[in-house]
């Protein structure tokens, strides 16, 4: 009897799974994993012979498998049950999700130094130029169980950057709780001490007077990659008259507000800030007339910084040379003694090959 029941249960599992897999409606994107799922398979005779088709089918089957998110969660929880320290380089410690940085790349960090020096030498010599480096949240993790990225070595290498570029050390104005639990980005409500420090050094006006709006549930980048919890967190958005009245010129899309609230609940809710990172953007302060302009060389972290810095400038130009070539983007700027800020995260510095300076 036991044998028959077991065989029947096994058959039910594989047959019903097969039927559900075939007949359930397919999703285009996975919000949890923040990625596009495999699209419909293109059947060609050539693909059939060279295994491309079968690879596509296997990928499609895995991507659209029923209860995919639940099963992924089972896998991750089982991995931790096996006492693994991390799963796919991600781990969870005291409520925070962490991801290990890529392997330390001496070459890419040195390249970053060369690239910044190149930009300075070719475009901004004798102007007020600043560099601030945002550490990944692992920088603030003090537990000997986990691997530590060689941050000290990275910061030491950055000393090779031209001395005329003023370095703003923001590591002591940020703490572990400054980051979202499920994401690598910083909470905007925790940025105020950092902006204040930058304001002091860069000599721009900053009043520190903001209202805080909260949006939930916010699922950060790590939430779906390490599916161990089912509850999101709050996304914090800071507003004052400057941010409310500001306008944005975006080279790639028609969004024209500092905060694009329609982005909340999409594949990346963090895109609420400046509607996500794009190659070239101009932010205009329409509330107060200022005699200063700023150019920021950015990565994704800048999206929550720039709205708060705008208070001190009449215009901020954001350049993201991950998505556009340096000379092409610089052609759009009329250099006229603006302040310049290189604001980059340690993970970008360690992967600086993506910066297109030539």
């Amino acid at each position: 009897m036991k044998e028959k029941i077991f065989v029947i249960v096994f058959m039910i599992i594989i047959f019903t799974t097969c039927l559900f897999n075939i007949f359930t409606k397919k999703q285009d994107i996975s919000l949890y994993e923040r990625r596009k799922l495999a699209s419909n398979i293109n059947i060609t005779f050539e693909g059939l012979l060279n295994k491309e088709l079968t690879n596509d089918i296997d990928k499609y089957v895995a991507d659209h498998f029923i209860l995919r998110d639940k099963l992924r969660s089972i896998k991750v929880n089982f991995e931790f049950l096996l006492n693994k320290s991390d799963v796919n380089n991600l781990f969870y410690y005291k409520g925070q999700y962490f991801k290990y940085e890529d392997k330390y790349s001496e070459r890419q960090i040195n390249n970053f130094v060369d690239k910044i020096n190149y930009i300075y030498d070719n475009y901004f010599e004798n102007m007020n130029v600043y560099l601030a480096v945002i550490p990944e949240k692992g920088y603030y993790l003090n537990n000997s169980k986990y691997k530590k990225f060689a941050y000290d070595k990275l910061f030491k290498t950055l000393e090779g950057i031209n001395n005329n570029i003023k370095y703003i050390d923001i590591t002591n104005t940020i703490a572990l709780d400054s980051y979202y639990y499920t994401d690598h980005h910083l909470r905007q409500d925790k940025l105020l001490p950092t902006i204040k420090k930058m304001a002091n050094i860069m000599n721009f006006e900053f009043n520190n007077d903001y209202s805080i709006d909260k949006y939930e549930p916010f699922y950060g980048a790590y939430f779906g990659q390490l599916p161990i919890k089912n509850k999101g967190e709050k996304l914090y958005v800071l507003n004052n008259e400057v941010t409310k009245n500001a306008t944005v010129y975006n080279i790639e899309n028609s969004y024209n507000k500092i905060y694009e609230y329609s982005k909340f609940g999409t594949i990346d809710s963090y895109d609420i800030f400046l509607s996500g990172a794009t190659a070239y953007e101009e932010l205009y302060n329409n509330s107060e007339k200022k005699d200063k302009e700023l150019i920021i060389f950015r990565d994704s972290y800048t999206s929550s910084f720039a709205p708060l810095i705008l208070e001190g400038y009449s215009k901020i130009t954001l350049i993201d040379i991950r998505y556009g070539n340096l000379s092409y983007l610089m052609d759009k700027i009329n250099i006229n003694n603006q302040d310049v800020l290189f604001l980059y995260s340690t993970s970008l510095i360690n992967g600086s090959d993506v910066l297109r300076t030539s």
Partner: protein, 452 residues
């Protein structure tokens, strides 16, 4: 297609079972052949023709063989041509290039999956029929089912026709066989997906580590052993289980080889179908041990060189085969009496040699291999252990311990436990779900023995 894939478990298998159940008994063999060809075509596309042509030619040659040695030799050569071409021609060319400074190379030569396995099955059939006409298949479809049956087609075990001759005719549904087969399949799936693949991830992480240590190399060597054993024995379990579901009784391919007490004992337990094949079709025809000592030594070295070559067209595999050949000779001539004295010490000796063997097996470049072995034995001035090695060791320790425990015959005792007997269906279903979860979120699912 691999057994440890979602496509196989949740599409191919239910469709096959459905067709198998609804078609009348006399058509079930055709369903198995048809679906087996789809199974092979899915993984190997165009090479299905080689499989079919070799099998059909072999069947008709066997029909004509009638103790005719010429036909036997022609048949063996015909079977070996595709294997030699696809697997060894570029290896041969690369060695010729070294000596003659030529530039011989055939581009885009991909090894057809399972060619080493189905070639050996075809040859064994030919020889068996040559020796005894009664061993012949009743008809071409029985023979095609023997060769193409998906469960053993791509990675063994190497099944003899005589082993399953009776099974081929038995196409009736049998719940008991289904029960045993499904359980065995899930055990194999678990071994492959949860243990072998996970240890594979550890191996990648250790290889990527910048600052190496002596202990890292020891851990890597141990990991290679665990990965290869769980990968291949897991696949064999799945194959045996799938065979059982369709009333085929394949012989065991592994018998806890990592619990062996000598290398001789190890090879009685490891890849049994391959060592049996070499013994019956190469070693004994060469004269086996019933010859002069010199010829006996020659026979052993020939068999083990070929065993190495069978695993891959690379010098490290030849070295791997010879390594075992030489140890086996030493054991037979010198060590046997000592090994019989203490099981524990003998086992310790065996494990060390086996672990070293899988380093030779895994590291193809000879210079890297020498570096690896020196590092493993602390001869490269590396620190003994560092933070990163310790990190991975701690992270995988539980899995390694579980893997080591279950590489000994503990499961035989667990199976007899009353509580286990009651709860085993639930345990197997849980293992199936966890394995599925791994496959859904899988970025790492190679199958090591496919390359052979």
């Amino acid at each position: 297609m691999v057994f440890s894939s979602l496509t196989f478990i949740y599409y191919f298998l239910p469709i096959l079972l459905l067709l198998y159940f609804i078609f009348p008994t006399k058509l079930k063999s055709f369903i198995l052949i048809f679906m087996s060809l789809i199974f092979y075509f899915y993984g190997e596309g165009k090479y299905i023709l080689i499989l079919l042509v070799c099998s059909i030619v072999n069947y008709f040659l066997a029909k004509k063989i009638e103790k005719n040695k010429k036909i036997l030799i022609i048949g063996i050569i015909i079977n070996l041509i595709p294997l030699l071409y696809f697997k060894y021609i570029n290896f041969l060319f690369s060695n010729i290039n070294i000596f003659l400074h030529t530039n011989l190379y055939i581009k885009n030569l991909i090894l057809p999956i399972g060619i080493s396995f189905f070639t050996f099955q075809n040859i064994s059939y030919l020889i068996d029929v040559y020796k005894n006409k009664k061993e012949q298949a009743n008809n071409i479809f029985d023979y095609l089912l023997y060769i193409t049956f998906f469960a053993q087609l791509v990675a063994g075990p190497i099944v003899r026709f005589t082993t399953i001759k009776e099974n081929i005719a038995n196409r009736k549904l049998n719940f008991s066989n289904l029960y045993i087969g499904i359980k065995r399949f899930i055990i194999g799936l678990t071994k492959k997906v949860i243990v072998a693949n996970n240890i594979g991830v550890l191996i990648n992480s250790l290889n990527d580590t910048v600052e190496k240590s002596t202990f890292l190399y020891i851990l890597l060597a141990l990991s290679y052993t665990i990965q290869i054993y769980y990968d291949f024995s897991g696949y064999s379990d799945m194959a045996i289980g799938l065979g059982k579901m369709f009333n085929f009784n394949f012989l065991e391919n592994f018998n806890y080889p990592l619990s062996a007490t000598s290398i001789t004992d190890f090879w009685r337990r490891w890849h049994i179908s391959l060592s049996g094949w070499f013994k019956d079709y190469i070693y004994i025809p060469l004269g086996g041990n019933r010859a002069t000592k010199l010829k006996w030594l020659r026979n052993i070295l020939i068999v083990w060189t070929l065993t190495g070559l069978w695993h891959g067209a690379s010098w490290n595999f030849i070295l791997w085969g010879l390594y075992f050949g030489i140890i086996l000779i030493i054991e037979k001539l010198l060590l046997k009496k000592y090994l019989d004295k203490s099981r524990l010490l003998s086992h310790f000796y065996t494990i060390i040699l086996v672990v070293i063997s899988f380093v030779i097996f895994s590291v193809e470049d000879i210079n890297e291999l020498v570096f690896f072995l020196k590092s493993m034995f602390g001869l490269n001035n590396l620190v003994f252990i560092n933070f990163e090695t310790l990190y991975y060791f701690k992270s995988y320790l539980l899995l390694i311990i579980i893997a080591i425990i279950f590489s000994y015959p503990v499961f035989k005792y667990i199976e007899k436990n009353k509580v286990f007997k009651i709860t085993e269906p639930i345990i197997y279903i849980i293992l199936l779900i966890i394995s599925t979860a791994y496959l859904v979120d899988s970025t790492f699912n190679p199958f090591l023995y496919f390359r052979f």
